[in-house]
């Protein structure tokens, strides 16, 4: 939160090079969030503060470009950079929307049962989108098929019919902070649980379920 105030409180100078924040770090964070979201089988916590800051950055860059003189090479390079950032941001948001649409009953159920202190996985706009999607699909199924069916069959339990995210999918990860004593549960009856340590900088292929909390806390990076 303090960081957001920092990023938002800065003024951009007239010169397009010097801006008082660390745009490189912001873009880095965006790319990390993007990769995590792409490779995780479930919807991760929303990073709306990063999204907002990146949007602001893009606006500033666009304004600066308009003011800068027609030194063709510099303008082109900045434009290219802007397009790249815009692509990463769009891809990140698209990935989230796709997961919301895929798992919408489970996500909404989780949102309903979440306690007050826990942060929401969805941004407010995403929550509205998810609710509308649910209502839309339910209305459609009712109008297209269910209303023609006998009364005791007219309710379809979407929680049971829509597949859940597969948390046992394997993911590649790189360890950013050293972790000790991660309990790995057995997959089959012959195996027994064992404990592993994750060294910093090492890369692993592991079941998502085991390291899900580490992804949320930022201790590992999915690749």
């Amino acid at each position: 939160m303090a960081e957001e105030a920092d990023l938002l409180g800065q003024d951009s100078d007239g010169d397009s090079e010097e801006v008082v924040l660390t745009p490189a770090e912001l873009i880095d964070r965006l790319e990390q969030a993007w990769m995590n979201e792409k490779f995780a089988p479930e919807l991760l916590e929303n990073k709306s503060e990063i999204v907002e800051c990146v949007m602001e950055q893009l606006e500033h860059m666009e304004e600066n470009l308009k003011r800068a003189k027609k030194g063709d090479l510099k303008v082109s390079i900045h434009q290219m950079e802007m397009e790249r950032i815009r692509f990463v941001l769009s891809s990140y948001l698209r990935c989230r929307l796709m997961k919301i649409e895929k798992f919408f009953p489970h996500i909404l159920e989780k949102e309903k049962t979440r306690r007050e202190e826990e942060p929401s996985i969805l941004s407010p706009e995403e929550f509205v989108f998810a609710k509308e999607f649910l209502a839309n699909t339910e209305t459609y199924l009712k109008d297209a098929a269910l209303k023609h069916m006998p009364p005791n069959l007219q309710k379809v339990d979407l929680l049971r019919t829509v597949p859940k995210p597969d948390l046992d999918a394997y993911v590649f990860l790189r360890v950013k902070e050293r972790q000790e004593n991660i309990l790995v549960e057995p997959e089959s009856d012959e195996q027994r649980d064992y404990v592993i340590d994750l060294e910093e900088g090492s890369q692993h292929l592991i079941r998502y379920r085991t390291i899900a909390p580490l992804v949320a806390s930022g201790a590992v990076q999915l690749i």
């Binding site: 790249r84 815009r86 692509f87 769009s90 699909t137 297209a144």
Partner: protein, 197 residues
């Protein structure tokens, strides 16, 4: 896409489902019907599951259409959709538009653009019609004459010109259109399919 009409014969089901719900079945001496009813109920559930799976799969494809073709669907596709599916599509469109508008800045971010990473800065363009002077976003103007080839139009140009046909060698031909479009890599796929023939 196949024809979307699917109607269930309601006659049999109503009779049997009312029998199923009748809790006095055993006492009324028709207990021997219970296995039949159970069997029938299972097949009803299976039929319903098949129907809902079919409809849901179509819904997913229609959703993909929004992402591929944009807000306005070609009439050939619209013809294949039922009225309820059109309603669903319109509501989905609206919901998506509201979400995109809320993303930040004045107009929000159109995330249905930029589907692929940007590859190059410029595109090549060949003109089909005589347009005259065309002012590029950064101020320089370009003369568009019939059959002339213009190299190096900046890729992110907003153009109010339409694609009349898309060249085989990867060059795009321009005509005229009513609205402004963003010239990017998905441009060709959108207009190629709409302007066929």
């Amino acid at each position: 896409m196949e024809s979307p009409e699917l109607r269930f014969p309601t006659f049999d089901f109503r009779v049997l489902s009312s029998l199923y719900e009748n809790e006095d079945l055993e006492s009324s001496g028709r207990g021997d019907l219970i296995p039949t009813i159970k069997f029938r109920h299972c097949s009803l559930l299976r039929n319903r599951r098949c129907a809902v799976a079919y409809l849901y799969d179509r819904l997913l494809r229609i959703r993909a259409l929004r992402w591929e073709y944009g807000s306005v669907l070609p009439s050939a596709l619209r013809f294949h959709m039922s009225a309820e599916e059109m309603d669903w599509f319109n509501r989905y469109k609206k919901s998506l538009a509201t979400y995109m508008r809320s993303l930040g800045g004045d107009e929000g971010l159109d995330i249905t653009q930029d589907m692929k990473p940007p590859k190059s800065l410029y595109i090549e363009v060949r003109c089909l019609k005589d347009y005259g002077e065309f002012e590029v976003e950064d101020g320089t103007s370009v003369l568009l004459k019939k059959n002339s080839q213009v190299h190096g139009l900046p890729l992110w140009q907003h153009v109010s010109l339409v694609v009349v046909a898309c060249g085989l060698c990867g060059m795009w031909t321009l005509g005229f259109v009513g609205r402004s479009l963003r010239l990017d890599e998905t441009f060709v796929s959108q207009y190629h399919s709409i302007n066929l023939g």
